[in-house]
Symmetry: C3
Subunit: 273 residues, 3 copies
Amino acid sequence: MDFETLKVHRDGPVAAAEIRAPPMNLIGPALVRDMVAFIQQAEADGGLQVIIFKSADPDYFIAHVDIARIAEYRQETVKLTGGEASLGLLFRYLSASRLVTIAQIEGRARGAGNEFALACDMRFAARGKALFGQPEVGFGLLPGAGGIQHLTRLMGRGRALEAILSGEDFDADLAERYGWINCALPAEEIDSFVARLAQRIAGFPANARMLIKERINAITLAPAAEFSYDSGLFPQLAGGAESQSRSRQAMALGFQKRDAEMDLPRMLPELKS
Amino acid sequence: MDFETLKVHRDGPVAAAEIRAPPMNLIGPALVRDMVAFIQQAEADGGLQVIIFKSADPDYFIAHVDIARIAEYRQETVKLTGGEASLGLLFRYLSASRLVTIAQIEGRARGAGNEFALACDMRFAARGKALFGQPEVGFGLLPGAGGIQHLTRLMGRGRALEAILSGEDFDADLAERYGWINCALPAEEIDSFVARLAQRIAGFPANARMLIKERINAITLAPAAEFSYDSGLFPQLAGGAESQSRSRQAMALGFQKRDAEMDLPRMLPELKS
Amino acid sequence: MDFETLKVHRDGPVAAAEIRAPPMNLIGPALVRDMVAFIQQAEADGGLQVIIFKSADPDYFIAHVDIARIAEYRQETVKLTGGEASLGLLFRYLSASRLVTIAQIEGRARGAGNEFALACDMRFAARGKALFGQPEVGFGLLPGAGGIQHLTRLMGRGRALEAILSGEDFDADLAERYGWINCALPAEEIDSFVARLAQRIAGFPANARMLIKERINAITLAPAAEFSYDSGLFPQLAGGAESQSRSRQAMALGFQKRDAEMDLPRMLPELKS
């Protein structure tokens, strides 16, 4: 059960999927293809109950989408979205799955990388290492893969506006205070904490777990139409002149390069209309 | 105004109801009967404005329901639920009451004990003493008395899933950070803090208080149909083979015994399918 | 772009509007008239993107409404509310504006002063100086300018009931823990933090900003009918005998005087039916 960009470690009813898409875990066609295949196989495996998503890269959980390949990676989602090319609908599919998903974040989770973490059932972050952000606004874009839907419901109007309009990075402690994640943990404890929690949950009866997820989703998971709407705006804006120009400027400054993106929030004000 | 399982201390417009259902404040027919009678008398008493619920037992606020007497305690609710046997609907009745209710939690509040605290208008917890949990999942059950409705709205999707799928205990500080309770207080201050707050609120005009509760409930109190739905699932699951088997195993390990339940979360992974 | 009660400092795409309505920044006809005019001019100015609201008074951000002039200040709102005299609808107009608004709170924000802060897109408060409260209940009133709508959605049922039923002051740290504000900052850092954030946001493309606000508002900004309903209750209650009597008692104790209101929460229990 290994993939080009996902290394899967199985421990009984728990699978830990390590994201390995060097050089910086960008969401491109390969990673989306592998995610879709992994989710399909995992759902079909009756012995599998809980999935942990983590990263093989100490600096990046998932950087964000590859802006040069938007149409391609979107096309890879259609097997799980009922035919609509949409990362947001793929992530929503995961949120509604019978599988329980835990995001273990020890590096940067930005843009759709953060939206993927938000689609997981729980989020735990390593103090001093994890960073969360939605940089889209700097490119004349909006978070199109569910970030608006989730962050707004988790954090309320004021904090969601701050996070999404500023494009700033939020560290693990502030993310906890804002409700962005479940909680921040010492970096040296997160691995054992998450592994233990996953095994614990996996040992409880599947039927009860499914009903509980269903009832909580009924209250908090936005309708597919809302995900679809935000998702449709994303390529529309990305194709516009403003966004195209800002993307070109960003590329010239090192965007989508590992080192230059370490402090991505500082790059955003450099981009001009 | 005293009952077999509730000792009521009246101080002007405030009544403090101390739960005394030894050996561990299980919710059985007697406690539900007394709660119903107390609520009815309190609502009829025009001089009474605010109720504090606390426990005479330093270790248990309310342990949870007596799983051997589900049909019986449910039947005791019907006077206040419009005829439907449902603890969730009884608790919702209290949330919609003209009376302002404050839960002062200094011990374990688990299962329907926690759901009762969630139905109160405010929750204050003693640091180092209070513990909160929904252990139902370990028995193949779901929180049926409003826990899903309240926790999800208070804490958001990720934290509600963690709390309800893990069946873990959350201490007062973590419960505050998650939004589960209003706030955590030093154990030696909680009594005077709550008493003072109750008297303060009780002194304000009743009409304004009622309108404020009504408007806040209109936004946050889930419809009766949602409480009824969760409530209906509970006995259905409890009667199933999986849950019956786990309950028997738990009884053999000391479930529903005071000492064995001090660390109930540790018992849950012992139960097998 | 200066007004009798608002001193406006322009810095490129950001305007900082300092509220100067001595002796204590009460919301009366002059301040509402000036707010309406300022909002209209600001919206018409295509070069203006972000507004910071702060106070020239170190002790009061905005005290609350002038209870002697309710009909008059309400009448000043109609240009922006579609003709309905309602502070809540004026504030909601601001929440829905294309302009991004940041409240920088370094003193007391009570009653409609707090509701104004809640209508802003973000709230930052100076530690050790800012205080937040809804004292209406002490006068037999309810927060009529959106406070119930916003606080309930930001803080959840239990904390909103505590805040609005107690009429207590909440300091910056507790307000942060409750989700009332975005975050509490050291008093000496708030000015530069907010100025920097405002410039950052103002530099991003307007179109993306507007879409993001629109999508977040669609989830969290209550319908105009809810604001209108609360708003209608306010003068109705204020005209009643209970509220009139309590207002007279409060005036005798120094209400609407700068010094006497420094600890307003202590005055409320003195008022009797």
